[in-house]
């Protein structure tokens, strides 16, 4: 999709609008997009400063800034991406995170109308990714470029974006703020994709939800019959065996995950196991039977 916006590929149908202006047939070089590639695509034989200056130097003479102006812009951008001391280094002499920041500065140099980032942190290790993610969000808040960021890492998408679009097989499933996407998934695909959800096949009757051998009473607006229930780790909580409308499960395994514990539970034979999160202070034994309350039923017709 980014390649369509950038003009590197031709759409088979539809139109592409930049600020309401049709750009569908505008050649790449006239679109003024800033493209940051997953594998950086820096010019190997140019040093950092020349890489950044490239987009300015290739402009036609009448719109090209003077060489002092270019130098000033490059220094400014180097400052922005925090690489001021490395102007004369070659790309091969930089770390992955530094290379990606050079690529970003190079894309920003042409004052793009839209900034396109194609899994820019995909090739970096987790720690660098987290730092760069925060830094990029900060940079975005300061410069305000319209930015399109493609990633497979949903955590990255939800943390960075003002608006998230979830695509499946080339179709947009949902566009919304991270809160909307997380709290009100529009389709079964989104519900299953976001938030480590597990999909359980369930049977619906009027005001009843049947999971395997168990049934609870809930309000739902769906027609009776087969449906899909998506359960995230935060949707179930352990409950005291009093009160009604509880599910029972058996602990399959307990794993430590960061500050919390993950408990894997079976709700019945033949059903996929679900996970719940326990704070580190609490624990559970393997094989133990537990009572569970379903906090948020995420139901979709199947």
């Amino acid at each position: 999709m980014l390649r369509l916006v950038a003009g590197l590929e031709i759409p088979t149908g539809g139109r592409l609008l930049f600020d309401g202006e049709d750009a569908t047939h505008l050649p790449v070089r006239e679109r003024r997009v800033g493209f940051v590639f997953q594998h950086y695509a820096l010019f190997k034989h140019f040093d950092v400063a020349d890489n950044i200056a490239y987009g300015l130097r290739v402009r036609p003479r009448r719109s090209r800034p003077s060489s002092t102006e270019i130098r000033r812009r490059v220094a400014e951008l180097l400052e922005l991406v925090q690489l001021s001391g490395l102007a004369r280094r070659l790309p091969a002499q930089l770390s992955g995170g530094q290379r990606q920041r050079v690529a970003l500065a190079r894309a920003l140099a042409v004052e793009p109308r839209v900034l396109l980032l194609d899994e820019p942190f995909g090739a970096l290790d987790a720690q660098v990714r987290r730092d760069l993610r925060r830094w990029l969000r900060d940079l975005h808040d300061r410069t305000g470029h319209t930015t399109l960021f493609v990633t497979h890492d949903q955590e990255e998408a939800l943390e960075l974006a003002d608006r998230v679009a979830i695509l499946s097989k080339g179709r947009i499933e949902q566009i919304g703020t991270p809160d909307e996407v997380l709290d009100q998934p529009a389709t079964a695909f989104v519900a299953g994709f976001i938030g480590e959800a597990v999909r359980l096949p369930v049977e619906l009757a009027e005001r009843t939800l049947r999971i395997g051998e168990q049934a609870i009473v809930i309000e739902h607006g769906l027609p009776a019959g087969a449906a899909a229930l998506f359960i995230r780790p935060s949707d179930l909580t352990l409950a005291e065996p009093i009160g009604r409308n509880l599910l029972t499960g058996t602990v399959v395994s307990v794993r430590r995950r960061g500050p919390a514990r993950r408990v894997e539970l079976s709700l019945g034979d033949g059903l996929p196991t679900v996970e719940i999160e326990l704070s580190a202070g609490r624990t559970a034994r393997k094989g133990q039977a537990v009572h569970l309350r379903l906090l948020t039923p995420r139901l979709f017709p199947s």
Binding site: V28, F37, G55, V58, V110
Partner: protein, 280 residues
């Protein structure tokens, strides 16, 4: 104790090295030495005097002229072919790739014959060419054509694997930054392949100057007109003019040595980029 599982015993190692060195000495170093010693057998003055022969001088001139035409032609062709094969997908691409290798697999004599059959007096296009009073066979244009044909894989073959490996992302980056296609080629594509290109030019040039088979068929051996250096060597040798024959041969051998030095230098200077290249 062996250093590693693949290390052979000391004896086997030395035997292998000895065989390789002996083979090289016998088939490469010794003949090379013979060329220079034969050329200088009657002294340095006789060696220099062999170059006073006007026919020899014209053969050297012709060889330089042919290389000066064939190498730039193949430079342009090689870059075009490598560019289109490495960066685009089109029907017939694999056919083009194997066609480029054709001159390697066909005997040079056969390629020369093809030109005679095409352009010769009794050939396909011969009669119409003689109407125009334009001679190709047994004339310089034929020699140039044959040389271009024989040498055309060298540059393309050096560039294709390297360009394929590098992919198109740098070019795409340049385009999104507003560079034109030509500008992208000059500032991004060409610098990325410059060492491999130079290497291909060296090999192409060595072959263009040294080609014998194809040139021999089309040139007609007209002294002072269509004889290149390798052909002149043969003629002089057949006339028992050994010193002169070996003197001209020593020039060709010197060229080969220069090419070797240039090639080693390029490999040393730019090992990474060239190691990705398959040798023809």
């Amino acid at each position: 104790m062996r250093d590693s599982a693949t290390a052979e015993g000391t004896l086997a190692r030395w035997a292998l090295i000895a065989i390789a060195v002996a083979f090289l000495g016998l088939f490469l170093a010794l003949p090379l030495l013979a060329v220079f010693s034969e050329a200088l057998r009657k002294g340095f003055d006789a060696y220099l005097a062999s170059f006073n022969d006007p026919d020899t001088q014209s053969s050297i001139g012709l060889t330089l002229l042919i290389a000066a035409i064939a190498v730039p032609l193949n430079l342009v062709f090689g870059v075009c072919a490598a560019w289109s094969i490495a960066k685009f997908d089109f029907p017939g691409k694999s056919l083009l790739t194997s066609l480029i290798d054709l001159p390697f697999s066909v005997s040079p004599v056969v390629s020369g014959l093809v030109y005679v059959l095409l352009f010769g007096a009794k050939g396909l296009l011969g009669p119409s060419l003689s109407d125009w009073d334009f001679k190709i066979i047994f004339a310089v244009p034929g020699v140039v054509l044959a040389t271009v044909f024989v040498t055309f894989p060298f540059i393309a073959r050096e560039l294709i694997p390297l360009m394929q490996e590098q992919g198109t992302s740098e070019e795409e980056a340049a385009l999104t930054l507003g560079a034109s296609g030509w500008r992208t080629f000059l500032t991004v594509t060409l610098p990325n392949v410059r060492w491999a290109l130079l290497y291909g030019v060296l090999l192409c040039n060595a072959r263009a100057m040294g080609e014998f088979g194809a040139v021999s068929v089309v040139s007609g051996h007209i002294r002072g007109l269509t004889n290149t250096m390798p052909l002149q060597v043969e003629i002089l040798y057949n006339e028992y003019n050994f010193v002169a024959a070996f003197a001209v041969a020593s020039l060709l051998a010197g060229l080969a040595l220069l090419t070797l030095v240039g090639k080693s230098f390029l490999e040393w200077r730019y090992g990474d980029g060239l190691s990705a290249v398959r040798r023809p």
